[in-house]
Symmetry: C2
Subunit: 350 residues, 2 copies
């Protein structure tokens, strides 16, 4: 196993690498030995009926999902549920450009789609854990994309779904936003088509990458109300550099790029020949659509348009002036709304 | 006079280059012979009381202001008013990095502030035109920044002011957004600290610059409603490249950078030692605050907070799903609201 200064258990807590063998991808490539980094909490009950699945978002790992969403007294309580957090393919912990076999390492890493993640997770749950039904699938951002894909692709597999701050079908705006994120990396001469000499040589590019997150990742209300003060920063610019840019600087550029490519193309209507309404109409579980009101790229109006096409769904927007990156759970009021909404959903007798 | 493939009368219509001589800048530099590119329409009446001043926005020139805002039957009607459109310093037509004396050419062009533009325009109006009072100052975006600066710095000089889609004091969010625009240019190895070999060598950088405008310059409603269809494009990506990126590709990178630096630092509270309320309290004219409701960076809430500090002001938001770049006037409904609002303002007996 190779070592990485950022993607390791010291930074990302306990997880188990579980191989599901050779994995054929929707785009035609193959991952010879797909290992999923999986974090579990709680105890799977005897009839295997208390499992909750949490997929991960762009740049995130199981660590942030555990820290921000799971805990005793929270809605996602390991004393009640068996919680399975699966790191998405290519996120740095699961099989990724930096740790993959030489045949698909770095710039050779194949294109992965949201549906590949969901298929791999389905294989993992059924073959490794013997789970055939989930109490809930819940995820934010790219985790929401996977949640929607789960609900459309395997409509009988879960009782409930809670996509937070994400789309079932990505928008043009979001595609282009992601393109600007990718361009900060690929335009850097140190990138060398993915064969950069070191992460350090890409620091300037990753800082620019983080800076675009400063503009779109939070909300203008966050900046106006200077919520960064809550994190102990002295001024807006020191927060923009010391928090947002610094967050991305140690990450692997190929990892970010492959996940961004996947994010851009999230689209459940691939299940139905491009018919989004038909795809969303397949959903059988109870679904709570949970966008963040001040999100600048997973927007309320776009989320609402999707939610209205989902038969058994409810509109549950979350108020959060942090915008999209409120997902990180730095706002107690956000966390309370998440717990209240998920508690309500989990309490439904389905 | 040097020639430029983009900044010329063929592309930007008639204008006169008017020298106001040596010009000392707020940041300490000097422009040896400042020439302002000025477009006038209509006839200045005998007592010189029918003048309207229009400053320009980032990347724009007098041409777009004339095309989108001035005309017979419009509120800004040259048959009634003497309309003076002044291209901002460094915008490509007025003295700019590409056309300046060698001592301040290209990378040596000094930093210019909004207040420098306003002082230069004041000199132009009083000494060249003999105008001592304006019926109206009206401008969008950086033109709004100049409009606010005019109203604070020379409160007796105008009867009315109409800042459209801009701030009196720039926000942290907007500063960082502009930084990402600048970074697309300065991070390119072809930039060579402003001494690039040709505009063509900077085409990729300018395309990336334009792409960030795709994300923030319009609104997510524009993308959701596919308003780009109105401009004849086949799909969102062809519009993003063929319209937005193509718009910036012929521009001079140094010109964009100097104007962006200026934009970042627009702040009328420099007149009052940092006290924004005191600065806005100086305004004597009737002011209509005209933000665009779907603008993603000159936001309603931030504009409202400023408007509430202006004694003789009214809140006049404009509905436009195009977002900030609705300023270009491609939406007839936007143009109608602009005309209705400015007509109302101009009809006031002051």
């Amino acid at each position: 196993m190779k070592n990485h200064a950022y993607y390791n258990p010291e930074n990302h807590g306990d997880y188990e690498l579980i191989s599901i063998g050779e994995f054929k991808l929707a785009e035609g490539g193959t991952i010879p030995n797909l290992k999923l980094a999986v974090r579990t909490l709680g105890i799977l009950n005897e009839d295997k009926s208390n499992a909750i699945l949490i997929p991960t978002w762009f740049s995130g790992t199981s660590k942030i999902m555990e820290d921000a969403y799971v805990g005793s007294g929270r809605a996602l309580d390991p004393s009640k549920y068996y919680i399975v957090i699966v790191n998405q393919i290519g996120n740095g912990l699961s099989t990724s450009p930096w740790n993959a076999d030489e045949s698909i390492a770095k710039s050779k890493f194949p294109n992965v789609r949201i549906e590949d993640d969901v298929k791999a997770q389905h294989t993992l749950l059924t073959t490794h854990f013997g789970i055939e039904k989930l109490e809930l699938v819940v995820g934010g951002s790219m985790g929401a994309q996977q949640t929607y894909e789960w609900a459309v692709r395997y409509p009988d597999f879960m009782k409930r779904a809670a996509p937070i701050a994400g789309y079932a079908k990505n928008t043009d705006h979001d595609f282009i936003f992601t393109r600007t994120l990718m361009d900060t990396i690929t335009s850097d001469p140190a990138f060398k088509d993915g064969e950069y000499d070191s992460i350090d040589s890409m620091k300037a590019a990753l800082s620019r990458h983080g800076d675009i997150w400063n503009v779109i990742g939070y909300s203008t209300e966050m900046w106006r109300k200077e919520l960064w003060k809550q994190l102990g920063f002295e001024n807006a610019l020191s927060f923009s550099e010391g928090f947002t840019q610094a967050y991305f600087q140690p990450m692997d550029p190929n990892t970010l790029l492959r996940c961004a490519w996947k994010w851009q193309r999230g689209d459940v209507s691939r299940n139905t020949g491009g018919d989004l309404k038909a795809a969303l109409g397949r959903i059988k579980c109870k679904l709570y659509c949970m966008p963040i009101d001040e999100d600048m790229f997973f927007r309320l109006a776009d989320c609402k348009a999707e939610q209205e096409m989902i038969p058994n769904s409810e509109w549950k927007p979350i108020k959060c002036d942090w915008g999209h990156l409120g997902l990180f759970g730095m706002d107690a009021n956000y966390n309370q709304q998440i717990d209240d909404t998920l508690n309500e959903l989990l309490a439904l007798d389905l």
